[in-house]
Amino acid sequence: MSWLGLDGLLVSFTDRLNEPANRAALALRDAIERESWPGVEETAASLVSTYLRFDAAAMDGDALRARLAALVDSRDWTRADLPGGRRRWTVPAVFGTELAPQLQEAAALAGVTPEKAIAQIAATPLRVQTIGFAPGQPYLGELADHWSIPRQTQLTPRVPVGALCAAIRQMTLFSVTTPTGWRHVAQTALRLFRPDGETPFLMRPGDEVRFLPIDRGAYERLSNEGPDGGAVAEPIR
């Protein structure tokens, strides 16, 4: 556990990404939310760590840190359940083509053909490990070991909203137009961040995501149908 700035605390469960540590980070965040300690202003979980921000003008944080330490020690968080209210998303995606020009390159790095790459990604239920970097943007994991492909050393100057990109056994679905070091393997018509919408941020940590390969024509149709891009969510029971 460490201070993060004057008004923050950060609990890290490991220095290597793994599923139990991610589950621990999500569960600890949930538990802090349920505790409703006075002075806590915000909590968030990232891949394997949990963040808490408090009102530093009202309290020095020492007592809160002790409370948090006691909560962390109270159980084995890596065995905790996933957050409740999870959903299973199915998101149509065009793999490759000029819409997602780095499929071949990524597949080659993973040592498979592009066809096999598509089949493997489509067959893997991915979990939203955290929402971060940009608004509503999920880090999805994990792909099989051979997808442990490095980030590019040179950034792609710009990938569009809805780009599905891969690196280090993870995928991310971009919610804003941005430069990235991840390889652009598929394109979706899903808008994950809708600042003026009723649900501004679509996905939540713990949600499951599967990508459904579609052709270019279907993608064009879905793009014109609205911000969902054909994506559907059903509750996981």
């Binding site: 004057l6 923050g8 220095d15 760590s49 003008a57 971060g132």
Partner: protein, 338 residues
């Protein structure tokens, strides 16, 4: 006619800003808001209104504005030359702008971010709880020349003609830093070197962060550890791949994987944001207990801000002093034709 401010001309990065949207890190949205949040509080103080009121942030250069009704304005943050119908205005002060008058604001003479506040505030609809543009997230657009922004109703009997003395935070200087999650990953020698080095604000910088340059060797963690992405906050000093520090500002991403050597104290963030390209910045680590004391002292000063306002003197013979005041930090005062 609706009460509005007409933006006849504005710099390319001009936007509406307030104190941002704290509390949405879990959704991937950083707080954002004014790059210099103290300037928002100063403007609210000068106009006697709530700190949550939105203003116009001008980056490096001002613009030309006109009000459709008589309004009150305040000018804070990076000092810029300003005139109403050609008559010079004091910076860090409140004024009246009559309907149809031309408010002209020039380039910054020190610092980066200047603010134009209006009595009643910029009354754009709130998005996710605030009005400030979050440019990285695509919330709201920048204010373009030729647009009109709605102005909220002002409090009846609101006064103008006050000035607020401010400390120079527009030319770089010392920044106080607290240790963070990765500070201990840097060898002691590097921490010492970091505290002793003089950094220069690189021209590359925006509301997300500013890059620093220095002449000594690169900084790096022991064994070049790669850090798993975790929550990052404004004020964090990331050491990027090439060993140079980047200071994160309000519109930073919510997670990051570069090791952070420390976090700047919140009250020093305006100084970091306002340092213009080429300004010299230094870092000094302070213990947490000291940092808390310093933050409390800064809070106290902020709460007492309204008590330090003074009435602007209208006598033209005194205008020279007011102008000299606005041109701080080594910029020569005087001839407006320079």
């Amino acid at each position: 006619m609706t009460r509005a401010l007409i933006v006849h001309r504005a710099g390319p990065a001009t936007s509406v800003q307030d104190l941002g949207r704290p509390g949405l890190i879990a959704f991937g949205l950083s707080r954002g808001g004014a790059a210099d949040q103290l300037a928002i509080i100063e403007g609210a103080t000068l106009l006697g209104q709530a700190e949550t009121v939105a203003a116009i942030e001008m980056v490096g250069m001002g613009g030309v504005f006109e009000a459709t009704e008589d309004i009150r304005i305040a000018l804070t943050g990076a000092p810029m030359r300003a005139w109403i119908d050609g008559a010079p205005l004091a910076w860090s002060a409140s004024h009246r702008l009559r309907a149809g008058q031309r408010l002209e604001i020039g380039p910054a003479v020190a610092g980066v971010y200047g603010y134009l506040h209006v009595g009643g505030g910029i009354a754009l609809a709130k998005v996710l709880g605030a009005r400030g543009a979050h440019i990285a997230a695509g919330i709201d657009s920048l204010l373009k020349s030729g647009t009109r922004v709605p102005v909220g109703p002002d409090a009846p009997g609101g006064e103008a003609g006050f000035s607020l003395a401010t400390e120079d935070r527009f030319s770089g200087g010392p920044l106080r830093v607290m240790a963070g999650p990765q500070t201990a990953m840097f060898p002691a020698e590097q921490i010492a070197r970091f505290g002793a080095a003089e950094f220069t604000r690189d021209p590359r910088g925006n509301r997300m962060g500013v890059r620093l340059r220095h002449d000594g060797g690169a900084f790096q963690t022991q064994g070049g550890l790669s850090i798993l992405s975790e929550v990052v906050v404004p004020g964090d000093i990331q050491i990027t791949g090439d060993g140079t520090p980047v200071v994160l500002l309000g519109e930073c991403q919510t997670t990051g994987g570069y090791p952070r050597i420390g976090t700047i104290l919140p009250q020093d963030l305006p100084r970091a944001a306002q340092a213009p390209p080429g300004a010299v910045l230094t870092f000094r680590f302070v213990e947490r207990s000291k940092a808390i004391e310093m933050a409390r002292a800064a809070d106290k000063l902020r709460r007492a801000l309204s008590g330090t306002m003074t009435r602007l003197v209208r006598d033209p013979r005194d205008m020279r002093d007011l102008l000299a005041y606005q041109l701080i930090s080594g910029v020569t005062a005087g001839d407006p034709e320079e």
